[in-house]
Amino acid sequence: MPKYIVKRAFMAAVTAFLVATLTFFIMNMVPGGPFLAEKAVTPQAQAAMEAKFGLDKPLSEQYITYMEDLMHGDLGPSLKKRGRTVNQIIATKFPVSAKLGGIAILVAVFVGVPLGSVAAFNRGKFLDNLIIVGSTAGIAIPNFLSSTLLMYFLSTKLNLLPSMGLNNPVNYIMPVIALSLYPTAYIARLMRSSMLDVMGQDYMRTARAKGISTFKSIFKHALRNAILPVVTYLGPLLASLMTGSFIIEKIFTIPGLGSEFVGAITSRDYPMIMGTTIFLAVFIIIMNMIVDIAYAYIDPRIKLK
């Protein structure tokens, strides 16, 4: 286990380094600096600004400086939000996104897993078909569509729910539905097929031959095996919720990290773009590691290496 963590930490560092380097050079391929877009900036003022942030130095030197700061966990200052560092911005915006994403994951798992299992137990019957149709439709609706349609019907037409911000718990309803629709449907499908697979396994027959009740054999013997693919999916799900939230945050005007990132790209706020990318990359790697550990806990056959 400690060996595994060291190994994964090393992998994480390599990935973070690659992401940082990649982002750095990709961004510098773009002609035009961050201050060009602003009107009424005299060449002198621009030069001063560039000098202040070290943008006048050669690229290699900028890169080294950035990497050195990164080692100390310093993501640098924001170019656009004067006087604030990237670290500060992430610290205030990330919790907003994380809370939304976290709720969406919980919804996806706690709705998707039972739906998929129920479908499997009713294989071929009406309920199964209903869940199959629903979940197949669910994975065909991109979240920018589900959110805009939800907003149009529930907020604009029926005026049931607020369409902006996150001030009240009710504000969460639409963004969470929009964000969790796809993963819920996906988990339901995954769970259905893995449950069907598990139900055909020899050890389920053994459980039946032992005289164990259906209820117990489902909860003890089937569920723990059937949930494994879902656990594997949690890693990519996390990444997709993070990215999905970009759009959700934009549509529902939620002040999260996603909308901040999109804003930073359009305004070419280099340190902000790099900082967010690296931060999210590391965050996702850590989450994947936690998922792996959870997987090994559920399935004793897996040895963390």
Partner: protein
């Protein structure tokens, strides 16, 4: 109380698949007393497992008993609810499956899976259950039971796992143990060990055993009676001696010829049974073995053979035997 532990009369069982009704069992009758060992021999799909599973009501969800009766210990299994069946399964009838690699749940320890069945069917509590689990592992010849109980199935070898399966099956001292090809998935040396263990346990515990196998060699050493099944029917039934030294049905003869015999001085050639098993979706109307039978006659193609009884319990279903009797009868009539 019935005199038979297992009493199956004219059982018909079908599976309903998308492709149509598969008549897996066609008039199967088996009787077995307590403490006896019955071998059921046949190739895959002959219905040998289905017959045995129906004694504990373990038919797949799309299977249905279409006729006949299944009794265990004087009680009608085919009329029991799932709830009543659960009280019998694992307690009075237990089963060992073919593949020990997949028959144990990979995510629970050996101990957990043995203790589960003890907890379910006995009044034992806590430490007693654990004690019993340890005893069982020792009984099936597993060393260091305490350590093994804490291990997961993947940490044990195939032979070990089959021993664990046997331990689970014996946990509540069943009256009947069904062994569904218990050695097929194992290495040859391990096979012998497992068979030896079963023989030993039978002598020690005295339960009835139904041994399902496609390997006549396995049943030879253990079984009191042998039923040879083909395409959902028992084509020949008798004591082990009847079957080995006086086989009557062409299929049984074929099976015997296909066993390698090393003790014979001259190496007789192994004779395979030509052809394919019957397609159970479209069973032939005559003798199911007819298309593969070297002595097939016209009547075999059109009409199912009747039972011909020989000495003792021995019987077979083959027109050749009928023919002999018919000729004898004709002769008798003429005289």
């Amino acid at each position: 109380m019935s005199e038979y532990l297992v009493n199956i009369q004219h059982e018909k069982l079908s599976f309903f698949t998308p492709a149509g009704e598969v008549k897996a069992l066609n008039d199967v009758t088996i009787q077995m007393k307590e403490g006896e060992v019955l071998g059921i021999v046949g190739e895959s799909g002959s219905g040998k497992s289905v017959t045995a599973y129906s004694i504990m009501g373990l038919t797949a969800y799309n299977g249905k008993i279409m006729g006949g009766t299944v009794e265990f210990n004087g009680r009608r299994i085919d009329q029991m609810s799932e709830r009543e069946l659960r009280k019998i399964r694992g307690k009075e009838v237990s089963i060992i499956f073919q593949d020990p690699m997949t028959s144990l749940n990979p995510v629970y320890t050996i101990g957990n899976q043995i203790e589960e069945v003890i907890r379910l069917h006995t009044d034992k509590k806590g430490a007693q259950i654990h004690q019993r689990a340890r005893e069982l592992l020792s009984l099936v010849g597993i060393n260091e039971p305490e350590k093994r109980l804490r291990q997961y199935p993947h940490e044990l070898s195939g032979g070990m796992r089959q021993r664990v399966m046997i331990a689970i099956a014996l946990a509540c001292e069943p009256k009947l143990l069904i062994a569904d090809e218990p050695t097929t998935a194992l290495d040859v040396t391990i096979q012998a060990q497992i068979l030896e263990l079963m023989q030993e346990l039978k002598e020690k515990l005295g339960m009835g055993i139904i041994m399902i196998t496609h390997d006549l060699g396995v049943v030879a050493s253990m079984c009191d009676y042998i039923a040879v099944m083909y395409a959902g029917e028992i084509v020949e039934y008798g004591t082990a001696e009847d079957i080995f030294y006086n086989p009557q049905h062409e299929y049984t003869k074929g099976l015997l010829k296909s066993i390698p015999k090393f003790h014979e001085k001259e190496y007789s050639k192994l004779v395979p049974i030509e052809g394919q098993p019957v397609d159970m979706l479209n069973p032939p109307k005559g003798c199911p073995f007819a298309p593969r039978c070297t002595s097939c006659m016209k009547i075999c193609l059109n009409r199912k053979p009747e039972k011909t009884e020989f000495e003792g319990v021995h019987y077979s279903r083959c027109w050749l035997q009928q023919k002999k009797e018919y000729e004898a009868a004709m002769k008798g009539g003429n005289n």
